[in-house]
Symmetry: D2
């Protein structure tokens, strides 16, 4: 950290800061410039970090500038070659292959999920996505089929050689979900639900962690750190659109977050153009853009009859559109020296 | 809802939409303008609402415009005269009085909380705030004293005639907290933690619900609706700053949200200028602004030794500053025909 | 427009709105729902539009919802097949080819611009970009070479078969620039400088209009409308990143704006990944993403010695990196059935 | 500036940065921490600042952190006691008095402006506001009466002892406006129109500079610096709402910007709650909040018949509402030890 003093800070104020830094177990390097003094803080102790931060409102201090990132296990420097995760059934993510998960927003019935599983598998998806527990911003909306939905999804996936990814909303659901899913998904609204993150840190199963809709990239990596600090290093990050002033689409997809995260972290990164755009006709261009920018995978909503879907119908692809999209991203993957099996 | 068709939508497309609206149990009113056709949807059934929304990507449709708000119990029309909540010990919120909660970010020790409780009570606070369970974006930061912290806070409050408000982070903590706190606080990061909201809907205790850092006012009211739809109508809303491009302060306090919420809802609204600004020297002007704009209360961080606080020291007031602030907002309260006892 | 009345609006209030609508020369369609009344406004007259908008704060009115877009000449419906612009020297934009403009942020010297022009031409660029008049947020920064810079750029372009695109900042510069440039660029900060837009509406030369850093897509199209309403239909739109809460990169590139604009408008759309990211190592992935999402062109900063550039060195590619980037986007262009000659 | 090196930066990379810093005429202070090396740059030369900034993408560099603010004349340190500007007719701003400007969005007719001038003067306004040149986002909207409007406004103001503030949109209008107005207003869309700012730097008349809708506070102060660096130190800053994800109101008023600007700069600060909210019924609470937070003045839209206003009717107060508002803010001003004469 660097303490940036005001131009008119007094000697006494500077000395006070230096003394406090030492009191906290760090060294202080004072650099006196022509316009102002800055004080570099050196040392590894993390114990008194919050006290150091509190100095930012001490007299004479304009601001504290943080230099090092607060995440460690998730940092690229921790595994410079990148992480390749084995998801099961021979599917790996983070390597050469671009992996696609597809399926409905919510599991609605045995017929619906069986139908769509067969179709997305045929088109080249490797995972079946679908919600059994649904986070809905209105208490009056459809809330999901629960465990019954998980069973239906597991069956449909197994019959088509697919893996299962589904959202967990609360620590109490982890145990119920374990037998049915291959990848636990954490939704955007729960990215900073620390109880849930801690719970997922204690299991041995990959976690797909979605970026909160107003979370910075650093905060996303800190949430990954929560899971990893518990011992579960199998984390996949997901860009799914952020909230900005532009409201033509439901979210603004931060495609640049993909290469940024690849620089900052060794973890695989996927993109969700369905939630990222919220409109069916914009899913394909953004899926292509994500792969072109280096995404390790995609997660796409597909529904056999979107107009009658119980949720997210507006952004779900028709099965034919998904098949067409897979053709397009296969070409894009080749252009960036990746592949879709 | 209104369906806004593209200018070049065909008769067939218009007819399809009309048919789907009827299929869902609603009436369709077609208005043919010179440039385009719009279709009004009339009816009360909420059953097929998501299917109606899915029409927004049907051929020929430009967008679906929602007309009515999705919250009902929280709406002003539900109780036009406004809600006045009895918090206990003769303290009410939502009426003429402006109620102030004050205390440290986190309970750190018996001495700390006893010291600060005496000081804030003397200055005129009616509630003692303080965290026992702390949500921290880094897994390596101080996480709170847990139940021991609750006990210390209860003792300190009782000795000074104060009520207790403290944050609940997970449904599993509700039972532990019930004997110790008078108001359950839901933090900004948990505003859409629906399991937690449902849990709080089943208890009989006031809930202070903080606005998520990128939540719209409508989403805040929908989260209140989650709690109320469970039977607990004792909800207090809290503006605590939103995330914008302006980063000089930690958040941008949306002071206008206060009168907007007062128009849309009957629930009391308080402001948190400590988190809203993140800097000690900006807390007082924003506290004054909030009261001037019509806030029913304030929640303020005060610490006996902010430079040594284990968290949020940078934004905590010194006790003397809090006493001064209380004097200032008493005058502001009078100017807007309110009072601070 | 649709007038959305409050649920408790009185008959008198509804009648007042209907009367005002008729007074303004429009027809009113009243739809009475179970929860509220909405009033559709039909008619083509634009004369009293602002008076209609003012109704949104009349008693009993919750909001006015605008249905039709305020841009007309820029709308897709005006030319459904899309616009293909001839820029000169056989270069067209908006058709099958993806057109690339490249060069330094600012023209600094004859050697610099000659050097870079030869290199970008060889790599496949069709336009030379470079600033002679520079908008700088600090009055103490380098402000450009002025007309001398334009001459140097014209010479360098002509020797390498390139077209010239350069920024115009004020109506007074239009005449000076006309002989030197093939495309007039309007910078993000001037997107709503209406005097400048009107001036450009009166010339017969293509205009590259950059999106303001907090402009909605609709506002961008309205600014295009300003130019087109003056008679100059040769407008190219440019996505260059918007301002959001995410500050790791200088801007958040709104890649989805590319397909959205293609739906709403017939005008060609290009992307500027240099300003969109502000970091050299993120330019290539975002250039690829833009082409994958359907961009008609790119504008890229390249400098012979970025570390010594007088401006924007941090985001300028080295010439070798640009040559490599051209190879990559050629492959992406093919994958989306486009080409780079 | 501080250069923050990556943890794995090589000695060679560090040495390269140190050499470049010296080459640019600055001193380099290398601080080697346990996790990474940071390099402080000391020196006053501004010549090579952009080259230093370009180092942020040199190999081994994670980022460049700017320490000092780029504005100087506008900085508080330049005049620690604050600036009190004499506007004429005995009105000063920046001192004890809170100064109010009021009037219609646009001058529409002699009757309209005479009527409203008399009413706002009687209620206590000191300046008459009104537009003669209107920036409109649509080319099809009412564009103002031009010089005729200025004459009407001057007459109306003089008859009522008021000063005149009106918006200048282009350098070419400065000369026309000089005889009619007492304060030149720069609108939010022109905050970074550098030609206009330079033009205003050369006159001897106060300038009211509105914050751009997505401008940071630092950028606002840099725009003030543009004017001041030309020799005109008479600048008044204006907070008028920023663009955020919250769209219930037209803008999000950044009330905290008022005390922040007062800390960073010596210039007077006013607030515009009419544009800041865009809704008549929210103007009063936000006007009160601005004064409570320390604003030196307000600028308010008032119209004799808002429902028939040619622009901004939705946010214009009725004259009676303005009179009531003046009573309220007089009380608030007293509560913060200020006054409204």
């Amino acid at each position: 950290m660097i303490v940036n003093m005001f131009g008119d800070a007094s000697e006494e104020q500077i000395n006070h800061i230096v003394a406090r830094i030492k009191e906290c177990g760090y060294q202080a390097h004072v650099i006196r410039g022509e316009e102002r003094t800055v004080i570099g803080i050196v040392g590894k102790s993390d114990r008194h970090r919050s006290e150091l931060e509190a100095l930012s409102s001490a007299p004479g201090v304009e601001e504290i500038v943080k230099i090092s990132h607060p995440f460690k296990l998730a940092a690229r420097s921790c595994r410079p070659e990148g992480t390749v995760l084995d998801l099961g059934k021979g599917v790996t993510i983070g390597g050469r292959e671009v992996v696609v998960a597809a399926g409905p927003c919510a599991v609605e019935s045995a017929e619906q999920i069986a139908d769509i599983a067969a179709k997305v598998a045929k088109a080249g998806a490797k995972l079946l996505r679908g919600g059994a527990f649904k986070p809905r911003s209105s208490p009056y909306s459809f809330q999901g089929l629960g465990e019954e939905g998980l069973k239906l999804m597991r069956d449909a996936a197994d019959k088509n050689g697919l893996l299962v990814v589904s959202e967990v909303m609360d620590p109490s659901q982890i145990e119920i979900m374990m037998p049915y899913v291959d990848v636990m998904q954490v939704g955007a609204r729960n990215m900073q639900n620390y109880h849930l993150l801690r719970g997922l840190g204690e299991i041995d199963k990959p976690v797909l962690l979605k970026r909160g809709m107003s979370a910075t990239i650093e905060e996303l990596l800190l949430s990954a750190e929560y899971i990893m600090s518990g011992g579960n290093y199998k984390v996949i990050l997901c860009e799914r659109g952020i909230r900005t002033f532009e409201t033509y689409l439901r979210n603004t997809m931060d495609i640049a977050a993909i290469p940024v995260i690849k620089s900052l972290s060794h973890l695989p990164v996927v993109a969700d153009p369905s939630h990222g755009t919220g409109r069916r006709d914009k899913v394909a261009p953004m899926a292509r853009a994500a792969v072109a920018a280096g995404a390790d995978g995609l997660i796409i909503e597909v529904h056999p009859d979107p107009e009658r879907a119980l949720s997210d119908g507006v952004q779900s692809l028709y099965p034919d559109q998904f098949t067409q999209l897979m053709k397009e991203i296969r070409l894009i993957a080749q252009a960036v020296d990746r592949e879709i099996a």
